[in-house]
Symmetry: C2
Amino acid sequence: MECTVPLGPASTRLLLGHGSSQNLAETLSLSGTRVTVVSDENVSASARGRVFPDQDWLVVPPGESSKCLERAAWLWSQMLALGMDRRSALVAVGGGVVGDLAGFAAATYLRGVPFYSIPTSLLAMVDASVGGKVGIDLPQGKNLVGQFYPAKIVAVDPALLATLPEAEWSSGMAEVIKHGILSGGDFWSQLLSFHPADRSQDKKLEALVTAAVRVKVGVVQDDPFEKTGLRATLNLGHSYGHAIEWCSDYGMSHGQAVALGLLAGVRLSRLLGILQEDFEPELSALLERWGLSGTLPDSDDGRYSWERISLALGRDKKNKDGQWCFVLPQALGRVQLVYGPDRAAVERAFSSLLV
Amino acid sequence: MECTVPLGPASTRLLLGHGSSQNLAETLSLSGTRVTVVSDENVSASARGRVFPDQDWLVVPPGESSKCLERAAWLWSQMLALGMDRRSALVAVGGGVVGDLAGFAAATYLRGVPFYSIPTSLLAMVDASVGGKVGIDLPQGKNLVGQFYPAKIVAVDPALLATLPEAEWSSGMAEVIKHGILSGGDFWSQLLSFHPADRSQDKKLEALVTAAVRVKVGVVQDDPFEKTGLRATLNLGHSYGHAIEWCSDYGMSHGQAVALGLLAGVRLSRLLGILQEDFEPELSALLERWGLSGTLPDSDDGRYSWERISLALGRDKKNKDGQWCFVLPQALGRVQLVYGPDRAAVERAFSSLLV
C-alpha cells in the first residue's frame, strides 16, 4: 500500500505494509543512490540482516541522550569522512530518537541531503516518522532545536515489530489510542476489538498500524507547519503528559505519561462541561489492556506535586500570552483547543491520577 | 525602493536605499514583534545607536571563527534564556558571518523563528544577504552545515557603509565586479565610471549597490536551491578563489582571493578557446582601482604551490564524479559551466598570478 503526503512545499511518500522496508531498500539500490544508514546499537544488530547489509552504518547509543548536539556533530563529521555529497542519502533505521537525530543531520549537512526513514518502533511508525519534524534536545529541554524536513519516503513495515519489547508496545499503543480518540468511529471500534494476541496476525496488525498512521497523515497534510491549530490537536493528552514526563525526570515512558494525560484530559473536559460523550470506561479498559497504568506511581519525594506539575504546564509550547492551552475531547472523533481553563479544575483532574 | 524575491516556497522582501534599515526597525516595532538582535563587537558599537537601541543584543566576537557550532549553541541558549518563542524574531545586524550564523540559529531554534537581516558590509549587501543560504563552518571546512532559510525582509542601506574600513570596501568590490561580469551591459559601464571618490555621493553609491544586488536577485529567484546550474554561475571566480583562500590559511580576504580567481578565470577561458570578448584590460583596471592585487603575494613556504592549489580545486563543491568544474566567462554578460577542463591549462592560468 502506498500514498503521498503533501507537507507544504515537500511531500513524503509512505510505503505501508509487511515488506515495505525491503521495498524501500530495493528502490534506493535500483536508483543507484549512495546510502548511509543511521541506527542505534539495539536496532542495528537485528535490522542489518534485513536491510542495507552492505552500506555504511553510523550507530549511536540507544536512548534519548543520543538526541543531542554532540551526537549530531559526530554524524556530520562521519558523513564528511565517508565523503557524502549532496546527492548521497541518509536513511534512519530505528525509533523516534534515531529518526529525529538523523533527520536533523540530513536537513543541515551541506544545507540538506535526501532523507529516508524506516521506523522500527510502534511509536515511531504511528507518530514520529510522518510529519517532517526533526531535531535534537538541548540541556534546557526536549526538541528545542530542529527543522521541518520531511523524509522523501517512509516505510512503515509492521514485520519489524516482531522483536519489539513489551514496554515499547505499551508506549506505542498509548499514541494509537490517542489517534483512536481523535478519529472515533470505525477506528475506535477496530481498537476495541484488537487484543494483544492479535499482534501475531499479520493482517490484523497491519490494518491497525495503517489506520493509526492514516489519522496522523490526515492531520499533518492539512496543517504541515502548525499554523492553523489543526496539527496541535495531535497534542491531545500531551499537556499533562509532558508535565508528568518532566516531573518523572523522564524515568516514565512517553506512552505511559500520555496515557495518564489522556485520562486526566477526559476528566478535565468533564469538569469544564466540554465532554458530551463519556468514553472514559472504554478508554480505561483499553489502557489497562495494553499495560498502561491509570494512576501515578507512589513517590515520597513530591516529584508529582501540583507545584511542579503546574510549573511544567506553564512551559507548554501551545500556551499563549501566559494562558495555558489544552486539547480536550468533546466526544470520540471531536476535540477542541481550550485556552486559559480554570486552574482549580486543571488541578482536580490531575489529582485524580494520584488515587 | 522595494521588491520581493521569491525563493522556492518562501520569499524575501528587499528594502533598498538610504534609511531602509530604520524603515525595517520601524516596521517591526509597529507590528509589535518581539526582536532580538545578533551582531558582532565591531558593528554593534556604532549600529546600536541607529537601530533597535532598546532591544536585546547578542554580540559575538568578529571574524569567521564565530561561524561555529559552539557559537550557534550559545545563541540558542541565550534565546531560551530571553524566553524567545516561535513568534519572536531574530535580526542579524552585521556582515556575512553574523548573517550566516544568526540565520542558522533562527532556522533551527524551535524549528524556525522569523528572521530579518540588515547587512552592514558591502560584501554582505551584494552577496550573502540575499538568497537564503545560512550556516556554520566545521573544523573540516566552511559552510558544511546549514539550511536554505531566506530572511523575511532584508534592508540594504548604503548609509551603513559610511564607516566601512577600506579593506572591506576592496573585498566587497571584488563581488560587485564579479556581478558586473555576469551582468555586462549597463552595469559594467556603471562600474567603469564609478570611482572611489563617488562613494560619498549618496545617489551614485545607492545606484551601484542596488544594481549589484539586482544581479544576485535575478539569479537566485530563478534557481533558489542550486538545481539548474544557474545559481552556480554566481561562483564565477570562486573555484580558484576558494583554493587560494584556503592555501593562504584564510589570511587573505575573500574578496582579494575572488579578484585573483576572476583574473585566472579569464585567462583559463582564453586558453581553452572559450573567451570571445577579451575584457581583461578593463577587469585589471577595475581591480587596481579598488586596491585589489592582480598577483599573488610572495611566499617562501610554498603555500601557493600547484600541488596545494590542485588539492583544494579537487574539493570544490561544484565538481562531479571527480571532474573539476569552473564557471568561465565567454564575454561580458555570458558565462558557462565547464567540467573537466585540461589540467595543464588550469595550472598555466593559475601560474600567471605568480609573476
